[in-house]
């Protein structure tokens, strides 16, 4: 057990899997000679050589499709997108090739690969570089999606994603790469589809995923000062989705806030609300509230960006509202 960064944990997961399986390789922009735009693959070129750690041209559709093709032939590509914003260019290969291949071929052609990189906003990167892309990857059946929030989850979930026989999107966060945390040194995986209670609490549940887990924990600490015990449930995996864990926290607190980085319309939170009202309708003492990015493209100006992002105050307020500690507006 050592304290390392999220970045190092991802690196450790890739090395762990590349050591045990020669069919695993890493391909993307700047991943080799430059050690990765965010230095996630530091040292991997030296360690594995340019056969397995490969710099690609800026051709997202092409190299994502090339990786899908390599996976059709049985290799296990790790396709790095410098950020998922750019993967929108590659979405046709993700949806029409990777997600649908196994089904169209009646099970003949699995696509055991990983699409990984940061999703969502960092700081003042403006509209085209700040988008949370979960909805685009979770809507179509055939792809799996995990969103590690801590170094330990990063190592375990990325390793599990690499070993999984289906295409798995691993969405990281630029602002998470420097986060430090305890990570087991030994080889391990965290199975897909298992959510984790990052903080137990009896009064209200903050359900979330990815980067927002940290915002949820800050909100929970703030609520603690008002003697409100918030439970923070980190879904960790959006598909497969740990429905039992969601229903369990609903049953426990009867009050839920869904926090996500992305936009509201057809966001992940919409699905969670739909699921809860459908399967735990009678458990709810209040409607599930959602805290999301403002429904606007991300502005550059510091103050506007802060306004647009979902923040601690908004989560605290939402928790108060589901507890009826503040007059609801309707």
């Amino acid at each position: 057990m050592a304290e390392i960064t999220y970045r190092e944990a991802l690196n450790a997961a890739m090395c762990q899997e590349m050591d045990r399986d020669d069919s695993v390789f890493l391909l993307g922009e700047e991943v080799a000679e430059y050690d990765g735009a965010y230095k996630v693959s530091r040292g991997m070129l030296a360690r594995y050589g340019d056969r397995r750690v490969v710099d690609s041209p800026i051709s997202e559709l092409g190299f994502a499709g090339l990786c899908v093709g390599a996976a059709m032939a049985g290799l296990r590509p790790i396709c790095e997108f410098m950020t998922f914003n750019f993967s929108i260019l590659a979405l046709d290969q993700v949806i029409n090739s990777a997600a649908k291949m196994l089904y169209m071929t009646n099970g003949q052609v699995p696509i055991p690969m990983v699409f990984r990189g940061p999703t969502g906003a960092a700081l003042q990167l403006s509209a085209q570089h700040s988008q949370a892309c979960e909805t685009y990857y979770v809507h179509a059946p055939g792809v799996k999606l995990v969103t590690p929030a801590t170094p330990a989850d990063a190592k375990g979930l990325l390793a599990a994603a690499i070993r999984d026989d289906d295409p798995v999107a691993v969405m990281e966060g630029e602002l998470l790469y420097n986060v430090r945390g305890e990570v087991p040194d030994e080889e391990y995986v965290i199975p897909l589809g298992v959510a984790e209670v990052k903080r137990p609490g009896d009064d209200v549940s903050i359900v979330t995923h990815g980067k927002m887990v940290h915002v949820a924990l800050q909100a929970a600490r703030a609520l603690e000062r008002e003697e409100i015990e918030a439970e923070v449930l980190d879904l960790r995996s959006l598909r497969p989705l740990d429905v039992d864990a969601v229903l369990k926290t609903v049953a426990k607190t009867n009050r839920v806030v869904y926090l996500e980085e992305g936009w509201p319309f057809a966001g992940v939170g919409a699905q969670i609300v739909s699921l809860i009202q459908d399967e735990a309708f009678d458990e709810l003492d209040a409607p599930v509230l959602r805290v999301t990015q403002a429904d606007v493209p991300m502005p550059y100006a510091k103050n506007l960006e802060q306004l647009a992002k979902p923040g601690v105050k908004a989560v605290v307020e939402a928790c108060r509202k589901v507890l009826y500690l503040e007059a609801g507006t309707s």
Binding site: S59, S97, Y103, Q108, L192, G193, V194, Q271
Partner: protein, 387 residues
């Protein structure tokens, strides 16, 4: 008229059997043996009769969806694929019935797929546009124009990665070269020197759009930007095409790097079953002239007869075999059952994770939807039928 629409018996000018071989004609035979020549003719006749049968089946509703016939382009299926090794890889677009057969998928398995039956090469899930048999090196069957081009690069990548000596042949239509994926894939193939041959089946049209209307350059100009050699071959001359690909495949196997082939051909039918053979975008005259003079089957047939290597009787025998195989395929397909409704959720994922829910529709049949006390969401005839 071409064999497509007439019984070969009626073909007038065929010289009587047993005539002395004509040396001039022999030159055009590229050194194939009589058996090989009969084999190629038999292959193309099978492709032709098979698709004519599919056309019939479509007309009576046995086949649904889109159905794109290769009729007129069979010279390329035989000429580009037959020279390949069993473990070489082929990936292509949606006009691929004959290519699938050429790579070794049985007419039965292909026809059953067109019928959407369990014995189809994609279990009835893929249909006409998505024929697969990876054991035979046939990687489909893709419906997004240009979508197979990066896949072809990836298959070649895997060969190189493993140090294998196979090659990948990636087919595309002429219109597909205007997709950005073409640039990205050819460039990466060149940078990484992948063992892949990109073959444009240049039938002159993308649906109703002549290539000359969407390009100011000739097809040959499209690969030089990436330093990939361009070759042109007459796809209607199956013997020339065969020898050409035979040689090129060996060069690529030997490390010559990616290649680009502009194969000239012509589509004798409409783009798909809903598109008339001729009309707004190409004249009746144009089509008839090509069908008359450019039918790869007629060309080979006449050449063999001229050379005295094929008798009318032999031709009829080969054609009868082709028809019989096509009939057999259709009967087989017709007898094959529809997929079992209980398999609706099979093969969406190769790995059903023990934890969590993968299927969110919450239908009774959906795996994992039972991880909780039964979702209340319902949907589809499925839910209806079972609820």
């Amino acid at each position: 008229m071409a064999p497509a629409t007439q019984a070969p018996a009626e073909s007038g000018e065929a010289p009587g059997a047993g005539e002395a071989p004509n040396p001039a004609a022999a030159a055009g035979l590229h050194g194939f043996t009589g058996d090989e020549l009969h084999g190629l003719l038999a292959d193309m006749l099978l492709y032709r009769r098979f698709e004519e049968k599919a056309e019939e089946a479509y007309a009576i509703g046995k086949i649904g969806g889109f159905c794109h016939l290769h009729i007129g382009q069979e010279g390329l299926a035989a000429g580009a694929i037959k020279p390949l090794g069993a473990d070489d890889l082929v990936v292509t677009a949606y006009r691929e019935h004959t290519q699938a057969i050429a790579k070794g998928i049985t007419p039965r398995a292909v026809m059953a797929e067109l019928y959407g039956r369990v014995d189809g090469c994609s279990g009835g899930r893929g249909g006409s546009m998505h024929l697969f048999d990876t054991a035979l090196g046939f990687y489909g069957g893709h419906g997004i124009v240009g979508g197979q081009i990066p896949l072809g690069a990836g298959l070649a990548w895997a060969i190189r990665y493993r140090g294998g000596d196979q090659i990948c042949v990636c087919f595309m239509g002429d219109a597909a070269v205007n997709q950005g994926a073409f640039l990205e894939s050819l460039n990466m193939s060149a940078v990484w020197q992948l063992p892949v041959i990109y073959v444009v089946e240049n039938n002159g049209y993308g649906m109703g759009t002549a290539f000359s209307r969407v390009s100011v350059t000739e097809m040959e100009a499209r690969s030089g930007a990436y330093g990939i050699p361009a070759h042109t071959v007459d796809g209607q001359d199956v013997l020339e095409t065969y020898r050409f690909f035979e040689g090129l495949a060996e060069r690529v196997r030997g490390g010559a790097g990616p290649q680009f082939v502009n194969a000239i051909t012509y589509r004798f039918r409409g783009h798909s079953m809903s598109d008339p053979v001729s009309g707004t975008y190409r004249s009746k005259e144009e089509v008839e002239a090509r069908v008359q003079g450019q039918d790869p089957i007629t060309i080979l047939r006449d050449r063999l007869m001229e050379a005295g290597l094929l008798t009318q009787e032999e031709l009829e025998a080969l054609d009868a075999e082709a028809r019989a195989a096509s009939e057999d395929a259709a009967d087989f397909a017709d007898a094959s059952p529809l997929p079992d409704p209980s398999t609706l959720y099979d093969h969406v994922y190769a790995e059903i994770n023990p934890n969590g829910r993968l299927f969110l529709d919450g239908r009774p049949g959906a795996p994992g939807s039972g991880t909780t006390a039964g979702s209340r969401v319902v949907g589809g005839q499925a839910g209806g039928a079972r609820g």
